[in-house]
Amino acid sequence: MDWSLCYPAFVVPDTQLVTEDHALKPLTKPVTIADIGCGFGGLLVALSPLLPDELILGLEIRTQVTEYVEDRISALRSQHEISSPGLYQNIACLRANTMKFLPNFFTRGQLSHIFLCFPDPHFKARKHKARIVSSTLCAEYAYVLKPGGCVYTITDVEDLGEWMRRRFEAFGNSGVRGEDDGVETREGQGKGVFEKIELPEEGKEGEWVVEGGEKGQMGMLVRCIREETEEGKKVSRNGGKKFVSVYRRRKDPAWPDEI
């Protein structure tokens, strides 16, 4: 995986002169934010100036859409080359089937934020396995997220939001569950891997942002996914509802031999 092509501004300076094709040029920092199913890149573009110190990667399965986002990013970079050279250097987009290849991109605990914005709802029950959130995929999200890292989900399909909530809350709570099992978590059933965070109402994220710190950042990111994604804008135009949830990854439990 050659990251230097994605983030040329973040390549370790000493290796920039290396011309050998196969020498992988290391980056000064790893990618910490992933937008899975980034679509046309609205969120990436919005996040870039808000989180200038983080490397943000968009992953998209449609080849043509990926090409569009790549072009969009390189256009933005050259537009701002003179006025603000650092801008949009920290975002990139790759074509990938993340359901299969997520661990090929990120190592254990590498990410601090994962965005799953307006995923395909796959209404047919037979197609539920194709949903981006499933009991078994939660294991992979937990693997690439660092403890304390968060998964942000937004959808305009209430049932899908519920589905994702049940998957995240039940994950690790009582083992992994089958897709069609009625996964309902009960109080006092023990801690799962993910913890749902109570969010401010739509339009009140500002209160969190004012508070600053981790909460402020979360408020800002929640506002971003509500307002900056292409799908989010479309839903607003249509007057639809948006369902946002954030799940924080807990530390892995101790091994049975450590308890």
Binding site: M1, L94, R95, A96, N97, M99, K100, F101, P103, N104, F105, R108, F118, D120, P121, H122, F123, K124, A125, K129, S134, S135, T136, L137, C138, A139, E140, A142, Y143, D156, V157, E158, D159, L160, F171, G172, G175, V176, R177, G178, D180, D181, G182, V183, E184, R186, V193, E231, K234, V235, N238, G239, G240, K241, D252, P253, W255, P256, D257, E258
Partner: protein, 561 residues
Amino acid sequence: MLYQYQCLAYCQPASQSQTGILVGASGSFIHTFSAQNGRYLSTWPSLETTAQTRSSGQNNGKKSEVSNQKSSSQDDSKRPPKRQKLSPATDDSGNFSAEIAAAGDSDNGVSTKYQQPSNPPIIKLAGTSAGQHVIAVTGEDKCIRVFDLAADGILMQLSERAMPKRPCAITLTPDDSTILCADKFGDVYSLPLAGQAYEPEAVNGIDANGPNSSSDQKQKQKPFAPSATSLTVHTKRNRDVLRQQQKLNNHRAEKKALSFDHKLLLGHVSLLTDVACVTLASPSHKPRNYILTSDRDEHIRISRGVPQAHIIEGYCLGHTEFITKLCVPPVYPHLLISGGGDNYLILWDLFAGRMQQQLDLKSLVATLKNTHLGDGNFSDVSPEIKTTETKVDKTLRVCVSNIQALETHNEPSGHPVIQIIVTCEGVPALFTFTLGVNAQIRFNASIHTESNVIDLAVLRKQSSVVYSMDTSHQAFSTDASADTVKQSSRSLVGCLSYSSDSKTWKENEPLQANLVAATRQCADSHQHDPQAGAAEGKSLHELLYGLESLRKRGSENETDV
């Protein structure tokens, strides 16, 4: 006709006095042989039944009795009535079923039931480490059968469980209590070894089906409401689905819950190809269990053992094609050897999660193929000399079918040495390697065999391996049939022993001779049996050489990392 042993397994009873038993699956039959002298022991389903069915061609009355027996045994074991994708009858068996159908008319249709072959072919066999149970997987009906293996080799079926998806690999936890089943859907389930089907009424109360399965049912019964409104922004396809759902309203087929104890442990979004359990030392000096899973998309995942299997500890990334086989050698459980559809055998260090060594297999296969004179004969040039000279055929594709490890002797330093035996699909040879304390694999020799090797079992006690061979195809070919005269003269099995003195593998002549005779006798006894002939042509090819089909074709390839 299928007489080949597509699966072999070895069961070594815990007590030293008892001899091990070699278990082989030929079509839908399981034969057992003594691992000490190669003597034939028993067959499942019992030969008596099959003998009866054979004579029943002349005796209708007797046959109906047999088929009644069969149907009642089916009822007992609560087998689901639906059978998926059973092999279509081929020429030979076609004749037979016509005969049966004719006989069935005079039998008031009793034998129509019998027209189905009693079991589809077995695709996986495993023995418990205590050697008292055998687990067999049949592909077409997705069944996992557990047998009690008596000291005299007689198999008694204890349970039969149909999985939701076709199992691809099974293994047992180190304590033998739980079966791990990896399936085509990418999921790994755990099942208690001695599990029995529950009464259907009891299903709701079972923990494994979720403490809230009753509330789940309520959910299903509530009237259908579309999960999105017209305000929902989505693709045309999704909107079409919604429209269809609205038309259909409440007509939703309820999914049948599995009627036995099972748990979903983990899942890949890819076809699983192998699963293994490994126990490693921990900083607290208590053992820790891990589950290793490999898939069609080049991943080997390391997860924690039950009950924390949802936690991923790491990945072994480095294969460039589908993986077919994982092998954790004895004595060095922190090492893993994996192979698949790329040209390499890879040795991993599980502690470090790092690739330790990559061994080229393609050149070994190519070398051997170049010395092949046809009909399983080889020129006498030692492969070591030829390695450097031979050109490697670009179109040659190598697919590892099995990797087995056997602890043999100690190095002068006292450290144990592991012998590794690797087989490739459609290759008439065993490739042997040694693994020493320096965690390096060294190539030993290519041992060519009469016909393509299908499966391999290690007889620990005798420092031997038994391998089964494909007599119906030509050596190095997975589709060209061998001529029929030669087919019957070729051996179905072979046996090698490791000599610690000469440090080489040699034919274990007495055992091999007995096994060859015993397997031939079994084949002869099934000669007129329609079930044995059920797999032929395409289905036989699938059964013996199914791994190569895992290779992705052009557009399917999504590896861009």
